[in-house]
Symmetry: C2
Subunit: 242 residues, 2 copies
């Protein structure tokens, strides 16, 4: 996990303690991000290797993600109440509150994939049936990693790249869905396996979407612009114009 | 849509304008909620009646949900920056920020159902194939309505009831999934229709989950307790003990 040391551009506050608190919530988001990345990685490994034990660990570790999220959320509310942040600092706290919600939900998707992998293990899918999902998972994990990096450095260019790359992930996802429908229609005995693969792909696609959400909060923090619901072309144009 | 007039328990502020702002964001959440309820209702009607025109209207109206959400979000950030709310007022603003995110995502699910209904219309599913989904939709719309009512009145008891009722919705959803798998295995030609029905049921189940999220924010506002990730039994015990 990228650590966060470049505090130069956080404008200095009279209270060193306040600076420390703002730095702390950012670092804790990255800790949560690292934990969620591990959960996604383990869930995908469990899926591809029919590893029920690993899948069970993902499910039982989900509480760690949840409690860290609740704890950061409370810290943010405390900062708003006690420090009464404005402008950039306020945008940081709001961006953190939203980012941790998405990270927690990515954790939920990892848990879903883990559950599906336990179900899939009983059907013993052939390794090659999972090749495409494994490929999709690799790309989605890349998106999540880059989203967290863009958050660590509040890097708008990287954030925009993630939003663009997610389009490729969406196309891969669509292709897996079409492929599995073909398999199911050719051989109805394949239906339970195909459905589990489809649901897993769906969870991965959702993780890609949530990684994009995180990038949108980075842009909101850095530029003070809410870019949700605007086309990527329009966002790039607006950012060039500022 | 329930209107929100009972401001007695909002403690009075020196600035009448500030009181007005807090009331305004609550009322605007209910406006957004009403809009989202309509979108869900139209999407389900489009699905059940193979009404492509109505489905297209749901899709094209989604921008209304999005812009209202962005606008309320900005109003909340303004209130935090200018009014520096604390305690109960701060919890209200945070609850509003989180609620509108879930409402916007419920709008996205309505759009998904509308898209599926357009796809389904080409397969002309028989009316009786959709009976169970229609029933599920009725219950989910009830949950959403009650969640919005509990928000309007900040009614913890009603909020808890919604969280409990969502369990029944989850069971109905599971039953639809099992039934569709059986249909698909019996007749592979049914696969495309069954998949669309499964995805629609999935979206409805997600709307139920998000309605529960809204109820959790109501409890957080009223009690200052974050009840996410705690079992419903524990929550009821905790609330009795306070």
């Amino acid at each position: 996990m990228t650590n966060f040391f470049d505090t130069d551009h956080l404008h200095q506050h009279i209270s060193k303690q306040y600076d420390h608190e703002l730095l702390d919530i950012r670092n804790r988001v990255l800790t949560l991000g690292g934990l969620v990345e591990e959960q996604v990685e383990s869930a995908v490994t469990a899926l591809v290797n029919n590893d029920v034990e690993l899948a069970e660990r993902v499910i039982s570790d989900d509480y760690k993600v949840n409690s860290l999220e609740v704890s950061i959320d409370e810290e943010c509310t405390q900062i708003i109440a006690l420090r009464q942040p404005t402008a950039r600092d306020l945008r940081l706290v709001v961006a953190v509150i939203k980012t941790i919600t998405d990270l927690e939900r990515i954790g939920d998707e990892a848990k879903r994939i883990a559950r599906l992998s336990i179900d899939l293990a009983t059907h013993y899918p052939k390794k090659n049936q999972l090749t495409e999902v494994e490929q999709l998972a690799k790309h989605v994990r890349g998106l999540l990693r880059e989203a967290l990096d863009s958050f660590a450095r509040m890097d708008v260019d990287e954030a925009l790249r993630v939003v663009q790359d997610d389009r490729m992930v969406d196309r891969e996802y669509e292709s897996i869905m079409r492929q599995q429908i073909t398999y199911m229609m050719e051989d109805p005995r394949a239906i339970p396996v195909s459905l589990d693969i489809m649901w897993s792909a769906r969870s991965l696609e959702r993780i890609g979407d949530r990684s994009c959400n995180i990038c949108e909060y980075v842009i909101y923090y850095a530029k003070g612009k809410n870019i949700r619901h605007i086309s990527i072309e329009q966002v790039e144009k607006d950012l060039r114009d500022t």
